[in-house]
């Protein structure tokens, strides 16, 4: 399997978008392809006609991969899981979605505290009196 073929498969799974900012495709996101190469082998084998896949339109590539998804579900699922994990851990992808690359700790996040107006509304809730039964 060539790198071109692997990226063609991955770009079909994860084509990106032209949002603001644009979400990169798998090939644009500079992913670490090592684990993906091994998992893509059976999927590419199931595609049979690699050259045909490379020459196909994006719509046709989707149809061909859907057929593989049906014919070889376990192999496809394994590739997809790794592709999603690798892609959605990639800093350019996280940045495009407005998310940071650093893990949750040690920095955590800011959350807006409860505001006075919301707190005042709790008085209305309290004003309903006992809601429990015994």
């Amino acid at each position: 399997m060539t790198r071109v073929m692997l990226l063609a498969v991955l770009d079909t799974l994860l084509p990106g978008d032209d949002g603001e900012p644009p979400l990169p495709s798998a090939s644009e996101a500079a992913l670490d392809l090592k684990a993906l190469e091994r998992l893509a082998e059976p999927v590419v084998t199931a595609l049979a006609d690699s050259d045909g896949f490379l020459m196909a339109s994006p719509v046709e590539r989707v149809a061909r991969l859907r057929a593989v998804e049906q014919a070889a579900p376990d192999a496809f699922k394994a590739l997809l899981a790794e592709a999603l994990a690798t892609y959605y851990e990639a800093p350019p992808v996280l940045a495009a979605l407005g998310w940071r690359a650093a893990p949750p700790q040690p920095h955590g996040h800011e959350v807006a505290p409860i505001d006075d107006a919301t707190l005042r509304n709790l008085d209305k809730v309290k004003g309903r009196g006992q809601l429990w039964r015994s």
Binding site: D17, G19, V111, I114, W132
Partner: protein
């Protein structure tokens, strides 16, 4: 039976199996109320290493789906977790997949720390509504122990919630609501429905050696800064300081019973050695699956044992909003909840009620992994629409006890030396009606909040946190496993001290009640009052 080749230890007064919520609370209470007792706990897993938790690693998102998933089966599939000593569970016949942690702290390690109490009516569903069974004691009997358990865990929240009898002041202010919680609160107000910030077993201010929550998000991966309460941080340090022993990496194989009385436990230690620990009383707290598994494997003869398994049937309704919300920021289970529909109204077509909980979102990868379609441009369009723009409402219903929902042993001997375990659970029509009703109300709230698109998840399989009812309390040995003190009818010096005891389960999370009941049972064992 003790046999040649075994390592034999001197007797103790009380041997506790499981260092989770029930076992820890029981141990700590015994140590404080009867300090002369020799108390020793056996835990199959290990202590958590907070310096090495996934939330500090770049690959944390994928770890959440693998070796640090909430499901022991998923963790095992990913190669296992060195701290949680998991065993496989055949859940192929269960609508909900059991979730748990098998190490010191039990499932308080990877819980969301949402910490509601049951309602007074939850303790008398047969009397009030003609369904389920009454508990052998009331909310008000348990109330002093709820307060003690709250004190041990350190609850953040706001007093004054009219859905409950008055509670002692919460020790810390509530977890911040965030944009998501504030928006939900306004919608509940607009509808005239009850809402309240959740009680959470999460420090919102630093206390002692534990930091305040910094809203990192994925509580279910364990809390790196110790803000989230778990029994390895709360009960265990105090229990151990009081003289309780805790042996980790020890898998109890059998409660040995001779002449209708338990004489001790046989266990396999961390080096694989067969060990014998004689004890006057055995306390089992291994959750609704682990406890039933051990009691069944030990030959305890009780027709209700393993039966009446209850979860909290769960569904989700997710609303998409144009404006940016918090997404995966903040403690995942903690925002606001509504008990507007918690108590019975027979006009709804079912008895008992539902709990509506506005939760924070999952990590990006988790969100991406559950989309339909799962890949391609449409999947990425859906993710773009949802990520940081969604609000999820968890709907949980009150499960009712049904004997066919059960835990059984399989013919397979597992690697941990115990028989395999299987869970059979079907969602009842009653629960389905309750969930459908709850989803409709959740959608109503989300529409009032301004959601432009609604997605329903009518049944959420990976929500099987609450493993309850399989060794239920009661007066009749034909329909219950233990008496009101948790003592097994069949073998009275074997005590159950976890959620297995629950005759019914309410519609809200059980952690607070599990801890309170364990404290109460410990007092009962030594004849003490609260």
């Amino acid at each position: 039976m003790a046999s040649g080749g075994q390592i034999k230890f001197g007797p103790v007064d009380v041997a506790i199996v499981g260092a989770g919520l029930g076992g820890a609370a029981f141990a700590r209470r015994l140590a404080s109320r009867a300090p002369r007792l020799r108390v020793l706990c056996f835990e199959r897993g290990d202590w958590l290493d907070r310096a090495n938790l996934p939330t500090q690693k770049p690959e944390w998102q994928r770890l959440a789906l693998g070796a640090w998933a909430s499901s022991p089966n998923l963790r095992l599939k990913a190669g296992g977790n060195a701290i949680s000593a998991d065993y496989p569970i055949d859940d192929s016949a269960s609508a909900f997949k059991p979730l748990m942690w098998n190490g010191v702290g039990g499932s308080t390690i990877n819980w969301a720390a949402h910490f509601p109490r049951l309602h007074p009516s939850d303790f008398k569903t047969r009397t009030l509504d003609g369904v389920g069974d009454d508990w052998p004691f009331s909310y008000f009997d348990l109330e002093p122990y709820y307060d003690l358990n709250d004190e041990a865990f350190g609850v953040s929240g706001l007093p004054g919630d009219p859905a409950y009898p008055p509670k002692a002041g919460r020790r810390m202010p509530p977890v911040p609501l965030g944009r998501l919680g504030a928006k939900a609160a306004r919608a509940f107000d607009e509808l005239g429905w009850h809402w309240w910030p959740v009680d959470a077993a999460i420090n919102t201010v630093a206390e002692s050696t534990r930091e305040a929550c910094n809203h990192c998000g994925p509580c279910l991966l364990g809390c790196a800064n110790g803000a989230k309460s778990s029994t390895d941080l709360t009960y265990w340090p105090r229990a151990i300081a009081s003289g309780v022993g805790l042996r980790t990496n020890c898998v109890v194989q059998e409660i040995v019973i001779e002449g209708g009385k338990a004489t001790g436990i046989r266990y396999r230690d961390g080096s694989g050695r067969d060990c014998w620990q004689p004890a006057s009383t055995i306390v089992v707290a291994g959750n609704g699956i682990g406890t039933a598994r051990l009691l069944l494997a030990s030959g305890i003869d009780s027709p209700a044992l393993g039966r009446n398994l209850m979860f909290h049937p769960a569904a989700y309704v997710r609303g998409m909003f144009a404006e940016e919300l918090d997404g995966p920021v903040g403690p995942v289970g903690c925002s606001v909840y509504s008990h507007e529909f918690y108590e019975t109204d027979e006009a709804r077509g079912f008895k008992r009620g539902v709990h509506l909980q506005v939760t924070r979102e999952n990590a990006l990868l988790t969100q991406a992994s559950r989309l339909e379609p799962a890949w391609g441009a449409e999947a990425q369009r859906l993710l773009r629409e949802e990520f940081r723009h969604s609000m999820a409402v968890l709907v949980t219903a009150e499960d009712l006890p049904e004997v066919h929902n059960r835990v059984t042993l399989t013919q397979t001997m597992e690697a941990d030396g115990l028989p395999g375990v299987r869970v059979e659970y079907t969602l009842s029509d009653h629960s389905r009606r309750a969930l459908d009703f709850g989803m409709a109300r959740a959608e109503e709230m989300l529409r009032a909040a301004g959601a432009h698109r609604i997605q329903r998840v009518p049944l959420a399989p990976y929500t099987g946190w609450h493993l309850l009812g399989t060794a239920r309390m009661g007066g009749d040995p034909a329909t219950s496993v233990t008496d009101a003190k948790g003592c097994c009818h069949a073998v009275p010096n074997v005590i159950v001290a976890d959620g297995s005891l629950f005759p019914t389960v309410g519609a809200a999370n059980p952690g607070s009640t599990i801890g309170a009941v364990a404290l109460k049972l410990a007092d009962a064992l030594v004849g003490a009052a609260p």
